[in-house]
Each structure stands twice: as structure tokens, then as C-alpha cells.
């Protein structure tokens, strides 16, 4: 793993990913014949209604328990296994309430029994704008600040692949936009797979945008504009309408 003084974007080291196959849960197929490419060093957004298997796909990439059986292949472009090179951020911040901000950001090192690089953690906490809160307990932080801690923890892990499971869904609109900007900025160069059910979020952040529905996976071509896309741009608004229609199963 590369260790840097400041979080340098690991461009070139982040592989592209591919997940292909069938997934069955309780005897019933959740998806079959799926083929999802995740672009190297880019943001891929996976959009769709609840219960079609978006989170299952993330969990498969992260090698977490899915409660079902997967028949297929998960691969990275560099041939190395995907699991073990993944950082994970969920809708709930998953902060340990007994640890302060510093303790939560350095949780990974503590869990692996590695030396704890407090200077680097401090840098990253500063980077997400929480320099004044290093020693605060999560209970004393707002929801937005807690997600910032979770982001700093992801950055501390410094993995080339980042899986985001609706991490901004529980935030208010303004905080969400701020967090999206911050996450996009700090995770630059990493291979990011973002699961969301918010078309506006996918339009803002996705280099590539996929919709997963009961009928299967389809790609909606993203606007030519580079993310993070301004909300007020005409292309962004048009795209949002198209995505919304596609989500409802209407012709684009």
C-alpha cells in the first residue's frame, strides 16, 4: 500500500472492475446475466429502486456476506483480487460511539494492529474540515460532520477502490451537496462505485451512470460535462429528467 504525506490521488494504480453473473436469494433470482463495468479512476453511479440488488453488488465487490448465492465473476483489470483493496462508506456513518473523531479515523490501523499514523489522520481530519473536532465524540457531532468523519476514515484507509452505499442519503440538501463536492474532490483518481436512488446525485457525480431495475441493467449516457456538474446547467437538468423517466420505466 502506498503511504503519502498528503492524500495524493492514486491515479494509475486504481484498476477498473467488472462484475458479471447471476445472483439468487432464497431460491429466487435477484439478477441474472448482469455485466457491470466500473471504470478505473472514475465515478460510476448505480441507480435504481430499492430491492433490485444494488447493495448486493457492493457487498459482492467488498466480499461481504450477502445472504444469497452468486454465480459469476468479479475481476479487476490488473488481475489482482478486488476484496482487500476496498474502502466502504454506508448511509449510516458507522462511527464507534466510544471513540473520538481521531479514534474513529484511525480505527482501521487499530483493528489490523498496525502503527497508528496520527499526523496523517490529523491532516485528513483537517482536509474534511473537522480540525476543531479531533477529540470530540461522535454523539457531539451533527449528521453531516459524522459523515465527514466517515469520509476521513475512508481516506485514511487509502484504498484504490471505494464503494459508496448511499452515503449522502440521510443528509439535508445543502449538507448533501457539500459532502458530494468534498467526496468527489478527495476521492479523485480512485475507482468509485456509488449506489444511490437519487437521480440528481447520479447526474451530479457520475462519469458513467447505470440503472438497475427488475428488467436488468442499462446504461444511460452521461452528459459531456465533467462532474461535479453544476445543477443549473441545461444538460444537467435535461439529464435529470431523462433519468427520472428511465427510473419510472418510461421511454427516455
Amino acid at each position: 500500500m502506498t503511504k503519502a504525506e498528503t492524500p495524493v490521488s492514486p491515479v494509475g494504480s486504481a484498476p477498473s472492475l467488472r462484475l458479471g453473473g447471476d445472483f439468487r436469494h432464497a431460491g429466487r433470482p435477484l439478477f441474472s446475466g448482469l455485466d457491470l463495468p466500473v471504470a478505473a479512476g472514475r465515478w460510476t453511479c448505480l441507480l435504481g429502486p430499492s430491492g433490485v440488488g444494488k447493495s448486493t453488488i457492493l457487498r459482492l465487490f467488498a466480499d461481504l456476506d450477502t445472504g444469497g448465492s452468486f454465480d459469476g465473476e468479479i475481476s479487476a483489470s490488473d488481475g489482482a483480487p478486488v476484496a482487500g483493496r476496498v474502502a466502504f462508506m454506508a448511509q449510516t456513518d458507522l462511527l464507534a460511539p466510544w471513540l473520538d473523531v481521531m479514534g474513529n479515523v484511525t480505527l482501521g490501523s487499530r483493528l489490523r494492529g498496525e502503527r497508528i499514523d496520527r499526523a496523517r489522520a490529523r491532516d485528513l481530519i483537517e482536509r474534511v474540515g473537522l480540525a476543531d473536532h479531533v477529540e470530540k465524540a461522535p454523539a457531539r457531532l451533527s449528521g453531516g460532520m459524522r459523515q465527514r468523519v466517515a469520509l476521513a476514515r475512508v481516506l485514511m484507509e487509502d484504498r484504490p477502490i471505494v464503494l459508496l452505499d448511499e452515503p449522502f442519503a440521510a443528509l439535508d440538501a445543502r449538507t448533501r451537496a457539500e459532502m458530494q463536492d468534498l467526496a468527489f474532490d478527495t476521492l479523485k483518481g480512485r475507482t468509485v462505485l456509488l449506489v444511490t436512488h437519487d437521480p440528481a446525485e447520479a447526474v451530479r457525480l457520475g462519469h458513467r451512470i447505470f440503472i438497475l431495475a427488475e428488467s436488468g441493467l442499462s446504461e444511460i449516457e452521461a452528459p459531456a460535462l465533467d462532474p461535479v456538474r453544476p445543477v443549473e446547467a441545461q444538460e444537467t437538468m435535461d439529464m435529470q429528467v431523462r433519468l427520472f423517466r428511465a427510473l419510472r420505466g418510461e421511454p427516455a
Binding site: 461481504l64 456476506d65 482487500g84 458507522l94 460511539p97 482501521g108 483493528l111 494492529g113 454523539a139
Partner: protein, 264 residues
Amino acid sequence: MSAGRAFSEEVTRLQRVRDAVLAAGVALALWQAVVWVTAVPPFILPGPWRVAESLVANAGLIAENAWVTIAEVMIGLVLGAVLGAATALHLMMSPLARRLALPIMVFSQAVPVFALAPILTLWFGYGMASKIAMALLIIYFPVVSTFYDGLRRTDPGLLDLARTMGAPPARTLLFLRLPAALPAFGSGLRLAAVYAPIGAVIGEWVGASKGLGYLMLLANGRAKTDLMFASLFVLALFAVVLYAAVSAFTRRMTRWSSETTDGA
């Protein structure tokens, strides 16, 4: 804002103490009134004043026996908590221990611990050891079951996170499951603080030559009901102080947990 909150907390605590003193005063007055009105003989029901006189007159005797009971309870409590915590951790780490020991432990709860007191006296004698064993046995299962339950109920999201971080199971247990289970362990300890004195006193009733339970039986047998009540009062006082101390300790241990519920 925090100063205002501290102030209001202080007021409510003062109010609570005042209310408690008031309630105790009313209860004592009622007690004395019943004694006067019904004119029951003192060996059936002595009045609170008579009990207080007996407490002062027998202070040395009561203190001597109280220390024995206190020592039994404290040693039993510490041993039971340590053994219980170790058992819960072991159950968590070893599937084999879970399969073998859990059914036995659950079944053993069908045996009332009181019923074991004569056997424990037979095995460990009339001294403190049998009472310590009673206190230990009576708190062991509550400690094991609450702590083990807490260890098992770690937020699955946190466990997923630990897995993606590449944490070995032993360190996940030590750094995630264990601290997350401390509030549950705390409620187990508070239960233990309530049960341990019961265990020790039952042990003393079955066979002892010292202790508050022994003194109560002795006083009862000689119709010194005022001494019996005085001993009971000291026992109750100790139980309350013990519970308060254990509560304060567990609150300190899991301060973060109450912060979460406050929302601060």
C-alpha cells in the same frame, strides 16, 4: 447552555434527595403510628425508635457481623463478574464452547441457587467460602448472559466495516465487540449488585457463625426483634450503597453511551 443544564440538573437532584427524605420520614411516622395505635408487643413489631436504640446499643456487634457479610458480598461480586465476563468472552470466541456449554448453562438455571446452599455449606464449610460461592453462583449467570448478549449484538454494519478493513477476528472482538458490549455488561453488573447480598445472606441462613444473616436469625430466635430490624436496616443500607457505587462505576465505564441517548 451547558451551565444552564448543569444548574437544572443540580436542582432536580436536590429535589430528589428532598423527596426521598420526605418519603422516608412519612414511612417512619406511619410505622410508629401503627405501633402506637395497635399496641403490638415489641417482639412482634418494634417501633422505629426502639430499632434505632437497638442499633446504637449493639453497634459493635452489628458492625463486626456486617464486615463479614460485606466482605463475602464484595469478593463474590468481583469473582462472579470476572468469571462471568471471561465465560462470555470464551463463548464468543469458541463455537465448541458455545455448543457444549450454552445448553448446560441454560439448564443449570432451572436449579434454584437457594437449593444449592446446603450443599455448598457441606462442601465449603461454615466460614466465608460457602457464602462467597453462593454470591458468585447467584450472579454468574446474569453476568454471562447480559455480557454475551451484548457481545453478539454488535452493529452488523460495524462488523462489515471491520471486515473490509482486514481486521482479524480476535482484534474485532477486542476493539469492536467488547467496547460495544460494555453497556450490556454494565446492566449485568447492576443486576449482580442486587443479587450478590441475597446470595450471601441465604448462605448465612443455612449455616454460619458470623454475618448479618446469621445475626438476624440469632436475634429472631431470641425474640430480639429490634436487633433483627437493626441488622436488616444495616444490610439494606449496604445493598443500596453497593448498588449506587456499581451504578456510578458502570456509568463511568460507558459514559459515551449516555451521551448518545442525550443527543447532547
